[in-house]
Amino acid sequence: MKKKIFYYIIRRVIIYLITLFLSFTVVFFFLRMIPGDPVTRFVRMIEQRFSYSPMSIETINAWKTRFGLEGDIFTQYRRYLERVFLNFDLGPSFVAFPTPVQDVIAFRLPWTIFLLGLATIISWVIGTIVGALAGWKRGTKLDSILFSIALSMSQIPYYIIAILLVLLLSYIFRIFPPRFALSLQINLFSLEFITNLLYNSFLPILSLVLVLSFGWLLSARFITISILGEDYLLFAQAKGLKKIRLLNRYVLRNALLPQATGLAMSLGFIVNGSYLVEWIFQYPGIGGLLQFAINILDYNTIQGIVLMSIFTVLTANLIIDLIYPLIDPRIRTGE
């Protein structure tokens, strides 16, 4: 039995590494297909902005070496792989030159993790429980109301919900701030800091939760209804088990695994839209950094953010897959 889990883990890790490598390669070549190179653009920008005399070829070449842009594309690719995977170096950034990109990202990352983590957990829990209940009470008025709302809400991008929430709760009713404005003077981990943080991030989190929980509701409802027809549930009912126990032990428990798979698969999607929500609220996370980097065409930082997002999504997928054996005994016993 132990051996089976071991093989399962090894297999998952190998797939993880291959996927990681493949997507890094895809992103590298995809971004290099964009015409023009960042250093030439950067040089031109400096020449224009500070009216320097044109830079010499030597200077430009020195910059190119520093940014890993010398030689043909395959040399660049090899060097980039070495730099990223062996030295964990994403190159210098422009937004905060010469701070390396990974440091700039690391500074912002906790904010994004806080926003996304909290929103994902809240919406997953609410969606799964309410969805299972709706499926359990299928055909009732409550179910059809929930189902209709969920159907119409689940595909709306959260940036639109975010904008409408700002309009409603910051401008028409002035309850929450339209921009994230947390004072950095407050002592970290004090009560004041936490209340301020929650107050300021309420709208960004709400806009993610509103959309995501309806998505989870739909899938949990679907899974629950397909469980309702199973023989084991009929048997449990025939045994005369209490309804709450049936719902808890037989329905919810079996719905958890497919819901967890769904969570893993939709992480990329969750990350996708969240950057725009951050941008709308001027939230100090990765999305805000991306916007900043795009404004000054900071190539290294943009590429770093893309790679970091992929790395995070894939790693989260791996972690969820590795937790599977704990939830699903079939993997433990290898059936």
Binding site: R138, S152, G268, L297, I302, L314
Partner: protein, 297 residues
């Protein structure tokens, strides 16, 4: 001439499925309404703007509230919001349809190769599909839009590169299930080759699921396009719903209280996404009998 085996099944009237799902009907009607509005855009805008360009500023007064003359008011440049909205709706739907179409075609080809050839080919293609599926594509698309001057077609191609995996997954699953049906065995025994089986027997039967894949791909494409435009990137001479929201936010529709400029594109977008999602579930409800019992409202 060999006819297809599945066509021996009783033929049903083409549009009869419309009666079978109210969810589908609602979504479908809204989309049809939007398509008709987009097609009539030159006529309506010709009437509103009296022959001037939709992006030309200063034709009317700034920030007029909604009235009989300007049903949705005017914006900060004195442009008619309704005229802009129709032009943007047309472009957003066009971009969604073209990129969704390209993505679904890629999806069909990949899914047919994977589903029918099976084995190693399936493993590899499935691996690629799953890789692209988990890549958060919006930052990449934003980077591309920031660095290149995109025109409409180029934009559609770039968008479709990341939106095909969803439809490939849906279609592959269906091909795998249809491959095992008895009439496919019958077709094999009758001497149809793989190519004929694929196109004559399986493809017509998974058409509804291609529809679902298409709706998904269009949702993905409009989602990404709007996101890129929201940041003010992409071709500025082609108005789109996302770009309208960008303008509204940038020129203080919120702080100045001109909510109609922001609400018009936002509500239109919500209707597009909602009705595509209704079409999606509606098609599943009609053509996936297992699910029909499940959705049941």
């Amino acid at each position: 001439m060999k006819t297809s085996i599945s066509s021996f099944k009783k033929k049903t009237r083409v549009l009869s499925f419309l009666k079978r799902s109210i969810i589908f009907d609602i979504g479908f009607s809204i989309i049809i309404l939007f398509v008709v509005l987009s097609l009539m855009e030159p006529i309506i805008n010709g009437y509103i703007l009296k022959g001037q360009g939709v992006l030309k500023s200063g034709i009317f007064d700034k920030y007029l509230p909604p009235s009989f003359e300007h049903l949705l008011g005017t914006d900060h440049y004195g442009r008619d919001v309704l005229a802009l909205l129709l032009a943007s709706l047309k472009n957003s739907l066009l971009i969604g349809a073209i990129s969704g179409g390209i993505a679904t075609l890629i999806g069909i080809v990949i899914a047919m190769m994977a589903g029918y050839l099976g084995g190693k080919v399936d493993d590899i293609l499935n691996g690629i599909t799953n890789t692209v599926l988990v890549i958060p594509s919006l930052p990449i698309l934003i980077a591309v839009a920031a660095y290149t001057r995109l025109n409409l077609i180029l934009m559609c191609i770039v968008l479709s590169i990341f939106s095909w995996p969803a439809s490939a997954r849906t279609i592959r699953a269906q091909i795998l299930s249809f491959k095992e049906r008895p009439y496919i065995e019958l077709a094999k025994v009758t001497g149809f080759n793989s190519f004929e089986i694929m196109f004559k027997e399986i493809l017509p039967n998974i058409a509804p699921f291609i529809g679902i894949g298409l709706a998904n791909a269009i949702i993905g494409a409009i989602f990404a396009e709007t996101g890129i435009r929201l940041l003010g990137l992409g071709p500025g001479e082609i108005p789109s719903l996302g770009l309208m929201i960008n303008w509204a936010l940038a020129f203080g529709a919120l702080s100045l209280g001109h909510y109609h400029i922001l609400l018009s594109p936002a509500i239109t977008l919500i209707l597009i996404f909602t009705s595509l999602s209704l079409i999606n579930i509606g098609l599943e409800e009609i053509f996936n009998p297992r699910l029909k019992k499940i959705t049941g409202i």
